[in-house]
Symmetry: C2
Amino acid sequence: MSPAAVPAAEPLDEAMRALAEPRRRAILRLVAHDELAAGEIAAAFEVTRTAVSQHLTVLRNAGLLSERREGTRRLYRARPEGLSGLREFLDEMWSSALDGARRLVEADRADRDRAEGGRP
Amino acid sequence: MSPAAVPAAEPLDEAMRALAEPRRRAILRLVAHDELAAGEIAAAFEVTRTAVSQHLTVLRNAGLLSERREGTRRLYRARPEGLSGLREFLDEMWSSALDGARRLVEADRADRDRAEGGRP
DNA sequence: CGCGAACGTTAGCGTATACTGACGCTCAGG
DNA sequence: CCTGAGCGTCAGTATACGCTAACGTTCGCG
């Protein structure tokens, strides 16, 4: 049966909540360049391995991390596709801002058209 | 004097935490197109005006909103510049991903060069 | 097989956070 | 001056979140 104890939560929502934590962003930056093991990542911070492991779980569930197992080690790497939702949101906001500018331009153009004698 | 009761908190951090809340993103989308009054914004949701007012405060402190007063009304509008930090982070992640790809390409090219007999 | 390494998982705790309700402030009109 | 509209702010509460400590699991090696 479909568990869905949690009401799904849109992908963008999970990504944003994951990125809201500074430590998780730091982790993402770490594994953005190279593939690192959980222990190496944990060694980069001054918190317990447990905390880092939980952060890794959150990031993985948000689709921001890819996991690969090699022996007993777990290698992690940033997954840029997980940021697509965020990028869409950002572009949406940006284009909206341009909409505001365009509205002013159109109003100005309408005035000019009217002044020049009606429709083209 | 500079109050700074809160230890500063980097701008990106505040923006991310503000955007982590779905309702706040919805508010941002609302005022991305048009300038709206607090009451109009509050009317768009099924929570109390109080809650919306608090969200507006958070968004404003994060630099994501611009406030303008007209009589007793407070008009809000999205402030795209507040998203610049987030955009930088996103681009950083994306270019890092490309770094990974480039590394593979370079390794491949090195192999090919060696196989073909040294330098071009 | 047994042992240690490398992780993930669970329980518990302190703090942050999102909401409601009550109150206070400011501006326009009569 | 006084009233009402329009918002922000202040307690108070329920829930979520991040952290630690203890335990469980899987893999490699002698």
